[in-house]
Symmetry: C2
Subunit: 324 residues, 2 copies
């Protein structure tokens, strides 16, 4: 429940960025609000921040609700802090305890996180009822990155499409599964094997854990040979078991990416995707502005609905007009 | 497994369309291949066909694998034929029996369908591993529509995102649920209540059917009042039970849409969405062609990956160049 801030003026954005880069928590929160609300000042701040990004290790944490991924993310935050790293958490899951401000408050040892100035948690609304990454996730991660967070975890509900999106937004993707309730079948259907760098079998103290581990090992063994090996780990988040090993695997994955040149390749790919998405968005916005102003779009759409004009021809006319 | 056809020449497309409009099955199959493969001739055929579309009733049939939605679609096809209507089926589910050419051949009474010239079944590959509507679904439906099919059923696997896509592509959306295996929970999570016009509880001879029906009634009762009422029906597809009632409900839904003016409103909405999607696609394709030819895109992307330029500025430069 972030209150919608009043509009900031031009100079304020630059001032906010200066303060954010110095590590001021309030400036960070304010920039995030400006960015999330899609304001001109947010856009200005992003442009100024951008050259300070690229340092953070981005880690996607995804899994079905009830898989314990929020608790696991909390444990990981603690573990990374123990290792002296600063942490950002972007919780896109609306059911995440992070989202409700109750930072896993039910567990005493987690409470140290909520008072820690080097941990910054940001919850985001999802895109409609279907879950998925919120539209500004990439931008929010960039802001946390510029603010100096070493590790940025992005937590989302594990619907199929999300997992692909998270994998393209994060350098390391952890998929959380549990032995309870046929998760593995869902996971396979959703194409999880294609996007997971690390599979965490949480609630690994349940009896069916060994069977799930074996199943996952068999499945990843069948994966295409050009894909780097997927790590499979057991965790019991509620007891903190396996968390250090998971943190090791996450750091090891980043090291491998870097050593193989894959990190650089993926960065180029992400940059290209982002530039093209923005270009497409801006082009269409310009097109729409013009076409709506002079009633041209409505006219074309009516002709198509009446079957007087086919949609391809209508699109072509829209573009030709914009190009003139 | 449609074999990729050789390229057709200009005149052939027009000739094919003439034959398709006369009801020639082979011409229909050939046009569909040209369209699906994204050829220039396919594009030409679509333009010529378009003014003959808009007659068919498009019906989305979606549900998890194992829900029996393919069998149900087969039963519906039979029922609509009995009512003297011609039928097209577009099966996007790769696991659908339709897709494998075995038109529910295990059931004697279904076999009448496969020899019926007024039933045309087309299977399509999905978009990658994640399921979803194949890219050319809208176009394939338009071709079947022009070819004079009265009812066109589009069958997809029920992943969350698909259901929304199918709802926007079809006039009537049937969501198939079963009492077995917690489907209703999945359905709610995926936002099914938002897109279903008709809920079919299949395998309704299972003991838990009544409980599921009650649950669904309670849920749809809570739906927003501006949404027209969702019908909830029981079916046992393997025995053909409830199929006539389902066909009635489908026809009744279309009548209500038409009487309320909602059909017209939705057609305009669909036309607008399609025109804008095509315009966006063509704009970006043009942009990419130019930017890739002169190495400009690569240069911009590299600058972004090196954090010398922010993605918004890069997108702006790409567009400015295209507009000059």
């Amino acid at each position: 429940m972030t209150p919608r801030p009043p509009q900031a003026d031009q100079g304020e954005a630059e001032e906010l960025v200066r303060r954010l880069l110095k590590g001021e928590r309030r400036a960070l929160a304010r920039v995030l609000s400006l960015v999330e609300n899609g304001t001109a000042e947010g856009r200005q701040a992003l442009a100024a921040l951008y050259r300070h990004t690229g340092r953070a290790h981005t880690v996607g944490i995804t899994g079905a609700s009830g898989s314990g991924k929020s608790t696991l993310a909390g444990c990981l935050a603690l573990e990374f802090r123990r290792r002296g790293r600063t942490v950002g958490v972007v919780a896109v899951d609306p059911s995440s305890p992070f989202t409700h401000g109750a930072f896993l408050g039910d567990r005493i040892r987690m409470q140290s996180l909520s008072g820690d100035p080097e941990v910054f948690v940001r919850s985001m609304a999802t895109r409609g009822e279907l879950g998925g990454l919120a539209p500004m996730t990439v931008e929010v991660v960039a802001v946390l990155d510029a603010a100096g967070k070493d590790v940025i975890m992005i937590e989302t509900v594990g619907a199929g499409q999300d997992e692909v999106e998270i994998a393209s937004a994060a350098e390391t993707t952890v998929v959380v599964l549990t032995p309870a309730g046929g998760d593995e079948v869902q996971a396979m259907k959703a194409g999880i094997m294609e996007v997971a760098d690390i599979l965490a079998v949480n609630k690994a103290d349940l009896p069916a854990a060994e069977a799930l581990m074996a199943q996952l090992r068999a499945l990843t063994g069948m994966a295409s040979p050009e894909r780097p090996e997927v790590s499979i780990l057991r965790t019991v988040a509620t007891k903190g078991e396996g968390v250090a090993e998971l943190a090791d695997a996450i750091e090891e994955h980043r090291r491998r990416l870097e050593a193989s040149g894959e990190l650089e390749r993926q960065r180029l790919e992400r940059a290209q995707r982002q530039v093209l998405a923005l270009a497409r968005h801006q082009l269409l916005a310009g097109l729409l502005r013009d076409a709506e102003r002079d009633g041209r779009l409505e006219e074309l759409v009516r002709s198509v609905a009446r079957r007087e004009l086919d949609p391809y021809a209508a699109a072509q006319r829209l573009i030709e007009r914009a190009e003139r």
